[in-house]
Symmetry: C2
Subunit: 240 residues, 2 copies
DNA sequence: CTGTCAAGATGTATTACTAATTAATGATTA
DNA sequence: TAATCATTAATTAGTAATACATCTTGACAG
C-alpha cells in the first residue's frame, strides 16, 4: 500500500532543482507575475540550461510558471496553480506556510469524506472491507508510535476513498494525505491520545451494515474530533 | 474571466508532442506498465531527444510516466495518475473515452457543489454576488447559441466555487469544467432547452439571502436536472 | 488613428557527447 | 551450496554550443 511520494521524477544528480525553485515560489520568495532570471538561476543552482528547462517544464505542467517568448519565464497567478496536485500541496508546507491552509484542507476533507462514506456504504466490496479492517488493525498495533499511527490513519482514509469506487474521489487522497500528516504532526506532543480505533471502527461497522446514514454520522464525529484536537493545540500555543 | 486551456506550455514548433503521447496513453493504446520506446517515438514524431524528454517530463509531473535508469521510461499504473489535473481529464475525452467518466465527474460535482453553495451562502461578498449575477446575464444573453451557453454555464459554476473563498474548492473547477462541457456537448442536439436562468437564479437568490439550506436545495435541483438531461439523450441513443 | 512590417530579444529545438545509475550477470568466498 | 561482491551493459540524466522560430515592440505608411 506504499507509494511514491512525488509524481515528478526526482532522481539523478540535480533532482532537487525542481524542489528548490518550487519552494521559493510557493513560499512567496518569488512572487506571482515576477519573471525568473534563467541565467542567474542556472549559475546559482549550477545546472545546465537543459536541466533547468526540464525543471521548469515540471512547474509549467503544474500551472506554476509559464514561458513566453520575448517576455521570459514568469510565475503564474496563484489562481492558476494546480493546488490539487500532491506536490504543490506538500511544497506549500515547507516553511513559512500559511496556517490557514490546514483549515482549507480540512474543509475539503469534511466535504468529501462524509459523502465518501455514504457511497462506500453502498458499494464497498469484501476486499474494501478487508482493507478497512486491515487499517484498523494497523491502527491498533501503532499504539504509542506516532509515525506508525499517522501511517495507519492514512491507510484508513485511503481505503475509505477506494471503497467509493470512484477514481476521482480516490485521488482526493492527495488532499487528505498532507492534511492528515500535518495535523498529526501538529497534534502530537500534546497529551496522550484516546484510542482512535473505536471511533474509526464505528465507521467501518456502519459501512459493513450498509447503513449510509450511520456511516456519515460516525464520519462527522471523526471530523469534529479532528477539529477539536487542532484547536486544543492551537490554544496551548498562544491562541493564534 | 477567460483563462488558458492548458497548464503545460504548448507553444513552439513541436508543442503537440506531449498531447500525442498523452492521448495514446490515456486512450489505452500504450498500457500501464509498458515501457516506451524512446528511439521509436523520436523517429515517429520527428523530434529531437531533448524535446521528447521535456514532453515526458510533463507527463512525469502529472504522474503518468516514470523514468528509471536501466529500466526505461514506463507508464505508471492508472492509480498514480493525477486525475484531478485539468489536462489529464481533458485528454481522457479524446476518442474512445469511457462514458462512465462523465458519471464519475458528475458524482464529484454533486458532492462538491451542494457543499460549496452552503459555504457561499455564508461567505459570498458583494463582488462574488456581482460575478454570479454577471454569469446569469451571460446565460440569458446566450439563448440560442450553444457555445455561449456552455461558456455562461462555466462562468456560473466558477463564480460559485470562488464564492466559497477556499482556493482548493475553487480549483475543483477543473473537474467541473470538462464535465460540464462534455455534458453540454452531449445534450445539445436534443430538443431545445428550457430557459436555464430561473433555476440558476434561485441559487443566487438563496445565497444573497444567506439561506444555506435553500441554496443547497436549489443546487440539488440543478444537479438532478443535469442527470435527467443526460439520461434522456442516452435513452435516445439506444439505451447504452 | 489604424494596420503592416521589420528588428531584435528570448524561448525552443537540435546535435553530439559524457556522466550517473542500477538490473543483471558472473566470479569469489564462506 | 549459498551468499556476497565486483563487473558489465543498458538506459536515463546532464552538458554545451549552436541554430531556429516566434512574439513583442515600435517605426512607418496609409
Amino acid at each position: 500500500m506504499r507509494r511514491a511520494l512525488t509524481t515528478y521524477a526526482r532522481r539523478g544528480l540535480h533532482g532537487q532543482t525542481v524542489e528548490v525553485i518550487a519552494r521559493r515560489i510557493l513560499a512567496g520568495e518569488i512572487a506571482p507575475g515576477a519573471t525568473l532570471d534563467i541565467t542567474a538561476l542556472q549559475a546559482e543552482l549550477d545546472v545546465s540550461l537543459t536541466a533547468l528547462r526540464e525543471a521548469l517544464k515540471v512547474l509549467a505542467a503544474k500551472g506554476i510558471v509559464d514561458a513566453r517568448q520575448k517576455r521570459g519565464t514568469f510565475v503564474r497567478p496563484r489562481a492558476d496553480w494546480n493546488l490539487l496536485d500532491g506536490d504543490v500541496i506538500r511544497w506549500q508546507f515547507a516553511e513559512g506556510a500559511d496556517p490557514r491552509l490546514l483549515d482549507k484542507l480540512h474543509e475539503v476533507r469534511s466535504i468529501i469524506e462524509p459523502a465518501a462514506v455514504r457511497l462506500a456504504a453502498g458499494r464497498a466490496t469484501d476486499d474494501d472491507l478487508a482493507a478497512l479492517d486491515g487499517a484498523l488493525d494497523e491502527m491498533a498495533a501503532a499504539k504509542g508510535r506516532p509515525a506508525a499511527a499517522v501511517a495507519a490513519d492514512l491507510s484508513f482514509h485511503r481505503a475509505l476513498l477506494a471503497a467509493t469506487h470512484n477514481e476521482l474521489l480516490e485521488r482526493m487522497e492527495v488532499v487528505m494525505e498532507t492534511g492528515l500528516a500535518e495535523r498529526d504532526r501538529l497534534v502530537h506532543g500534546g497529551e496522550p491520545h484516546d484510542d482512535p480505533v473505536p471511533s474509526h471502527r464505528a465507521v467501518v461497522d456502519a459501512i459493513r451494515a450498509r447503513d449510509a446514514t450511520a456511516a456519515e454520522t460516525a464520519m462527522r464525529g471523526l471530523l469534529e474530533k479532528a477539529v477539536r484536537d487542532v484547536e486544543k493545540v492551537r490554544g496551548q500555543k498562544g491562541n493564534r
